[in-house]
């Protein structure tokens, strides 16, 4: 995954008009994917937007090699994931990481103060348990959440066999359940 993320220094790339159009299409249909991957790691909307934009900038620079739609999405997920992890590490170094929890975005919002407190507590514990997962399980469980547990699509994005994705998803959820008992 790391090998796909170049760090130095970006050459100026100007695509021709047909590639520009293709890039616009990819930008339109994959921006939510990049944003959600970043959000799953960073749990902060502003940071996630910034990282997703950076990922698209990198994608633009290598776009002539990544025109195939499936390859593009897989590459975008990987680079976004790596950039988001880098951002977290940098933030941890500054000890300024935001741990915004999106309790208000829960599917079934709690009604009482106790419920709100309990939900917040649960979200924090879940975030902590997620961070403790090995990276290969964490990326599968987050992509599973993004793709509605579509293991075939997750496999395509990570270039893994579907059976491997199912197995990792199983173990990841089991570990989370054990940590949150």
């Amino acid at each position: 995954m790391d090998a796909l993320v170049g760090t130095y220094p970006e050459a100026v790339v100007i695509l021709d008009s047909s590639l520009e159009r293709e890039f616009e299409e990819r930008l339109a249909d994959s921006s939510a994917l990049a944003f959600r991957v970043a959000l799953g790691v960073l749990r902060n909307r502003d940071d996630a937007e910034d990282v997703a934009q950076e990922a698209f900038l990198r994608a633009y620079q290598s776009f002539s090699r990544l025109r195939d739609r499936d390859r593009f999405r897989a590459w975008l997920v990987r680079i976004t994931w790596r950039l988001a992890l880098d951002r977290i590490r940098a933030a941890r170094r500054r000890e300024a990481r935001e741990t915004a929890v999106m309790v208000q975005e829960m599917n079934s919002p709690p009604r009482t103060v106790e419920d709100v407190r309990a939900a917040r507590e649960f979200e924090l514990r879940l975030a902590r348990a997620l961070d403790e997962l090995p990276e290969k399980l964490r990326v599968v469980v987050l992509l599973g959440a993004i793709e509605g547990r579509d293991t075939r699509e997750v496999g395509r994005l990570l270039d893994l066999p579907e059976g491997t994705v199912k197995s990792r998803l199983f173990h990841a959820r089991k570990k989370l359940a054990e940590k949150l008992q």
């Binding site: 130095y8 220094p9 970006e10 050459a11 100026v12 790339v13 100007i14 616009e24 930008l27 339109a28 921006s31 939510a32 990049a34 944003f35 959600r36 991957v37 959000l39 799953g40 749990r43 909307r45 996630a48 937007e49 997703a52 934009q53 950076e54 698209f56 900038l57 633009y60 999106m102 975005e105 829960m106 599917n107 079934s108 649960f122 979200e123 879940l126 975030a127 997620l130 469980v141 987050l142 599973g144 959440a145 993004i146 547990r149 199983f170 959820r173 089991k174 989370l176 359940a177 054990e178 949150l180 008992q181």
Partner: protein, 234 residues
């Protein structure tokens, strides 16, 4: 009793693992059914929590921001040498390393460079100071003859190397005693000289006196001496 046996399999079952035996046990065990419900509820909460973590859409102007960043990147000044920077840095680092290596090893003989660390450590320890005084030429038969003293060499460049001096063997010990503090920086050579001058009588310039060689006296041979010489030759 049997419930304890299934405790570890409960989470797997809740996650969808096939377990006919546990399924049969559930029909008869309300406690395990309740626990399974709790486990499924926990997993559902986890899934909801995960989904909420990644829920959301990027802002409406996300694409515009991406385009702006691409444009900024394209218009940002990129010096022509930017792509060569890593190569340049690597080359400079190499030059510095080679220069450093050459400065550090101007006098080292080639054999020494080939020595391994183990060979260096296996070398016998250096002999004491006096043992380093070795003759540069074969020692003359007379004990009082001049000898070449090689003072121990600190690591110095060729330009700074100390000269060799000739010291009579009888004065070698005194010389070394004088030289040692000067070499170690404990004493200044000129001050030592000044002190030596004060302590003894002033140094007079060398004077040379011509050798007096008396003429050989040759006495003419007598007849008796001539005969004696010829008989000896025979």
């Amino acid at each position: 009793m049997s419930c304890e046996r299934f405790k570890t399999r409960l989470t797997d079952f809740a996650l969808g693992a096939e377990d006919a035996e546990f399924g049969a046990h559930l029909d008869a065990c309300a406690s395990c059914r309740a626990e399974l419900d709790a486990q499924r509820s926990l997993l559902a909460s986890i899934d909801r929590g995960l989904a909420s973590m990644v829920a959301g859409e990027p802002a409406g102007d996300f694409a515009a921001h991406v385009r702006r960043r691409i444009a900024e990147n394209a218009s940002a000044p990129h010096p022509w040498f930017a792509g060569w920077l890593p190569v340049t840095v690597a080359a400079l680092a190499l030059i510095v390393l080679v220069s450093f290596w050459m400065i550090r090893r101007p006098d080292a003989p080639p054999e020494r460079a080939k020595e391994t660390p183990s060979a260096q450590t296996a070398r016998p320890p250096r002999e004491p100071q006096s043992a380093q005084v070795t003759p540069a030429v074969p020692a003359p038969s007379n004990a009082g003859g001049p000898r070449t003293i090689r003072p121990p060499r600190p690591p110095q460049s060729a330009a700074n190397r100390e000269p060799e001096v000739l010291v009579p063997r009888s004065e070698m010990e005194a010389f070394l005693r004088f030289y040692q503090p000067v070499r170690d920086g404990q004493a200044d050579a000129s001050s030592l000289m000044a002190r030596a001058t004060l302590a003894s009588e002033p140094i007079r310039p060398l004077t040379t006196t011509a050798l007096e060689i008396s003429l050989l006296e040759i006495e003419p041979l007598t007849e008796e001496g001539r005969q004696k010489g010829s008989s000896e030759r025979r």
